[in-house]
Symmetry: C2
Subunit: 360 residues, 2 copies
DNA sequence: AAACATCATGGAAACGTTTCCAGAAAACGC
DNA sequence: GCGTTTTCTGGAAACGTTTCCATGATGTTT
């Protein structure tokens, strides 16, 4: 039959070709490859040999159609280029591999519309599940979650969504730790360089994260009996130019701040750059600490004190939750992973006496 | 028919359900969704309405089976966590999106066996094509390239493979530029911190890249009438510990080097760290330049002079070559993308007179 | 040796599409 | 108005699997 199949033939060999070549039924070939049912060793060997000869690869499409699932998971992140996201992706990949599932990756760049498109596509692909670092609002995910496959959020959750499992870093604790650390060093005029929501919609997942961090900062100060100076709490969009502008504005306006807590690596980067620009020595003139332990934190001079959010673990766990704990998925609240303080050289005791407005 | 289909019904609606609901044949529904053939506006509207009511999403598996392709591409990189790879991935994603194809991503971590496994999986998935930053040797890709879908290499090529299209950075020119730049500043004792192949097999793609860079260094010196000091050409594996050891060995042994050319960002990182450790001022005591313009290069103090390899563009072009130029794919040699010199503050004129062996 | 469980096997019916083919209806030129 | 094209439509046959079911061949128990 079909002489144009297999090996270097035009079209790839199918299970039928293998069956014919081995002189068995297609059901038997299927059993050999899917491992189910029982086949005599002799037959199995014959089938395997035939398959080898024809260079047969079972088609995931055929199988997927029958099984009604593609055996893969979808992963949506804002941006692969961000070191935290990259870590997270690596974590998902590592876990997916242990389950033998493949991963379709796409980036939404914080755009809810784009995110919705991607979800649509994933649904069409009949993925076994979706892991997302969500951009969009609640509504978009309502519908998506309804569709067959499961959804797990990683790193953040659209505000108002409660019935979808999630794996998050303990941001609140992270910022608290950092704040306590700075206060412990003696700082009193600590600036908080936060992230403003990108668009007009304040109901984004990213916005919620920013809010949590800012609130954690305020709460921690309050708990320590200090009152936050509103003028020292500024927000730049999580974007290079905007972050830089915010940091520059802050440090020029208030020469008396002794420490800056940056709520994200782009903001931290801005702080470092601005400090260098203004000839402020770190940590002699200002201490700088930031959320996100990106690689450059260690290469900075001085190396930056940070709070490390476990991107890899978040990705890994999210994938586990999706694939392993399908059953008990909805139980309990989100999984919280600890954020760890990494002390390096960028923070020291405050040097009293920088007069307000000293740098021009 | 099938009351348990569609909307919030158990199983997702199929084309048949839509056809029934709209009172048309399934062929008509198919035509409406695939855009082929012609349907009267009235019928189209009726079908669309029915589909909306049932929340119908065409199954990519069914279509894929029929069309014998999944409409997606596979992407294999060594490690998403590497900034260059991340850029490359972003480039592929950006291009794939314009073609409406999705991307299955996996990481081989430089392990040819793992790479082969991934390729197998991608073949099973009947991907439209594969883009790879290859780890493995020629043999593994021989077979893979034979299988239906096309393969395009990005960033590097397994030695000995000539008949597979590729998109590469012009490494030779990059290293030449950097070398000429250093020589132009007056340096004569320039160390080359290169990458040694990871395993015993020297026939890996990564090994070939390392070789090209080292040769480019030598050739450039020769072209400028200088002779390379073999003692100053060292190699660390592209891995943190090994790179650090190599850099430390070099700078301790030869206090007379005035410039270090690092052939990759991990090697550059090592150079920076070692220089700091040995209290060498950059660029006053040593100039440092490196291949790969990673984000931290700008945040270093002083910011590092680098050669930027266009990761994003490489990914984008590779994807274009795969999807657009299917026809004329094999024509001509690999596509070479220019690498650009980014001058920052880490290189200056040599300071004559550092006595050999000065730092302990 | 009869009755029975077990194993190995093949046929055939899904699974959800696309597409060829042919027929019906509508538009057209005279 | 009648052939003739053109547009629209539905039936049915793939596409490559898995799996239910039936069947014949073993092996096991009395």
């Amino acid at each position: 039959m079909a002489a144009d199949r297999g090996a270097d033939g035009r079209r790839p060999a199918t299970i039928k070709d293998v069956a014919a070549a081995a002189g068995v039924g297609i059901a038997t070939v299927s059993r050999v490859f899917s491992g189910t049912g029982s086949v005599s060793p002799a037959t199995r060997e014959r089938v395997l040999a035939a398959a080898r000869g024809l260079d047969y690869r079972p088609s995931a499409l055929g199988r997927g159609l029958k099984l009604r699932s593609s055996g893969g998971i979808g992963l949506i992140v804002p941006d692969v280029t961000d070191p935290f996201c990259a870590d997270l992706v690596a974590g998902v990949l590592a876990c997916a591999r242990t389950f033998g599932e493949h991963v379709i990756l796409d980036t939404a760049h914080g755009d809810p519309a784009r995110e919705a498109e991607i979800v649509d596509r994933l649904v069409e692909q009949r993925m076994d599940g979706v892991i997302a670092v969500p951009a969009g609002e609640r509504a978009a995910w309502r519908t998506a979650a309804g569709i067959g496959a499961g959804v797990v959020f990683a790193d953040r959750v659209p505000p108002g969504v409660r019935d979808v499992p999630a794996v998050l870093a303990d941001d609140r604790a992270g910022v608290r730790t950092l704040t306590e650390y700075l206060v412990g060093l003696g700082h009193r005029r600590i600036a908080f360089l936060g992230a403003a929501p990108a668009g007009p919609a304040t109901a984004t997942a990213a916005g919620a994260v920013a809010e949590v961090r800012e609130r954690a900062f305020r709460d921690t100060l309050a708990a320590l009996g200090l009152t936050a100076d509103e003028d020292l709490i500024v927000a730049g969009r999580h974007e290079r130019d905007s972050a830089y502008a915010a940091a520059a504005g802050l440090l020029q306006r208030r020469g008396d701040v002794t420490a800056v807590l940056a709520a994200g690596h782009l903001l931290g980067e801005a702080a470092v750059l601005v400090a260098r620009e203004l000839d402020l020595r770190v940590p002699a003139d200002v201490s700088i600490a930031m959320v996100d332990d990106v690689p450059w934190a260690e290469l900075c001079d001085p190396p930056l004190t940070t709070v490390a959010r476990p991107g890899h673990d978040i990705g890994y766990r999210a994938c586990e939750v999706l694939l392993r704990d399908r059953a008990r998925r909805t139980r309990g609240g989100p999984v919280l992973l600890p954020a760890e303080l990494v002390v390096r050289g960028s923070c020291g005791p405050p040097r009293g006496g920088r007069s307000p407005g000293r740098p021009a």
